[in-house]
């Protein structure tokens, strides 16, 4: 009886090994050495069209549909601390076209440069346009672009 059990066991061991050997063939993955494996990514929509504004006007903007949403995602399930900056963002100038923006984090927390935020899985940062000023002496139709950049620095 005992011999039968041992033979049976050996049979299963061997068949398990064969399955494992077969798995090796398609489970090989390249190992990328010396490459940063940052666990967070940040993405956003590319462009938001605010519409048309007339020279010499000051217009408030309904930012409900006019916001850029930055999505910071952590690929692991760990907590991450990040430091946020928007210092490279462009809002124009008073002698041309100026946009007034408001940044918020995690829905309603006011944004300030260098603020640290701890999050797990994902964090939303929004840039909203509240008003647009168009200087009176612009004398031709033109299109303006205002890049808003969110810089995310992971803190370890």
């Amino acid at each position: 009886m005992n011999n039968k059990i041992i033979i049976l066991y050996l049979f299963f061991i061997l068949s398990g090994k064969i399955v494992a050997q077969q798995n090796i063939n398609y489970s090989i993955k390249p190992i990328e050495k010396n490459k940063s494996s940052l666990q967070i990514t940040v993405s956003t929509a590319l462009s938001v069209n605010l519409g048309e504004f007339i020279v010499g006007t000051q217009s408030s903007v309904d930012f409900t549909y006019n916001e850029i949403i930055f999505n910071i995602v952590a690929s692991d399930k760990e907590f991450h601390t990040v430091r946020l900056f928007n210092t490279n963002s462009n809002t124009g100038n008073e002698k041309d076209v100026k946009i007034i923006t408001e940044w918020v984090v995690d829905n309603n927390i006011p944004f300030y440069n260098g603020m640290e935020f701890k999050f797990k899985e994902n964090l939303i940062v929004k840039c909203k346009v509240k008003a647009v000023y168009v200087y009176s002496y612009i004398n031709k139709n033109t299109t303006k672009y205002f890049d808003q950049e969110l810089i995310v620095e992971e803190v370890y």
Binding site: G16, I40, T41, V132, I138, E154, Y156
Partner: protein, 183 residues
């Protein structure tokens, strides 16, 4: 016997599970755990863009730009005529006022012959009518219009009392209109 059987079953289960896991492996079949390379500093950024159009929704188009008044013999008495009209169309955003300046040129500076003109506008409202001569050559604020406005100009008198340098020849009197949201 029962104990041995249970031990063997347990060993079988553990061994089977170990081999059936789909772990990453290198070419030599050596099992490798997750490759973690810690980065000391991670800086990421993303950029979105707000786009807007600045518009000056105001334009002027010459609809009739040339009127031939015909021939006039030199005379000390002015000719009274009712010429065809020059015509311009102004299109504007009716939410905003705009400004207009009519540059009337009634005398040819090279020889002094003259014409006398009458200007009128039509924006489809009952107030359309003759443009007061005192409004010419100065900035006019245009409001209460309906998005479009026609400006007309006709000649009502011709003064052909100064001989041209040649015995006869054409005279031209160029009329100009400027429009802007802000002068």
């Amino acid at each position: 016997m029962k104990k041995l059987l249970l031990t063997l079953i347990a060993m079988f289960v553990v061994t089977s599970l170990s081999f059936s896991q789909n772990w990453p492996a290198n070419n030599n079949g050596v099992l490798i755990t997750k490759d973690v390379t810690a980065s000391n500093q991670g800086i990421l950024s993303a950029t979105g863009t707000f786009k807007l159009d600045v518009a000056i929704p105001l334009s002027i188009e010459t609809m009739v730009g040339n009127v031939d008044l015909g021939a006039f013999v030199q005379s000390t008495t002015p000719y009274t005529i009712n010429s065809d009209e020059l015509k311009w169309k102004i299109t504007a955003d009716n939410r905003y006022n705009f400004y207009m300046r009519i540059h009337q040129k009634e005398q040819n500076t090279t020889n002094g012959n003259k014409i006398e003109m009458q200007w009128r506008w039509d924006d489809g409202t009952p107030s359309s009518g003759v443009i007061d001569p005192t409004w010419l050559n100065q900035t006019l604020k245009c409001s209460d219009h309906d998005g479009w406005c026609y400006i007309f100009c006709k000649v009502i008198k011709v003064y052909a009392n100064v001989p041209t340098t040649a015995a006869s020849g054409p005279e031209s009197f160029e009329q100009k209109i400027e429009v802007a949201y802000l002068f």
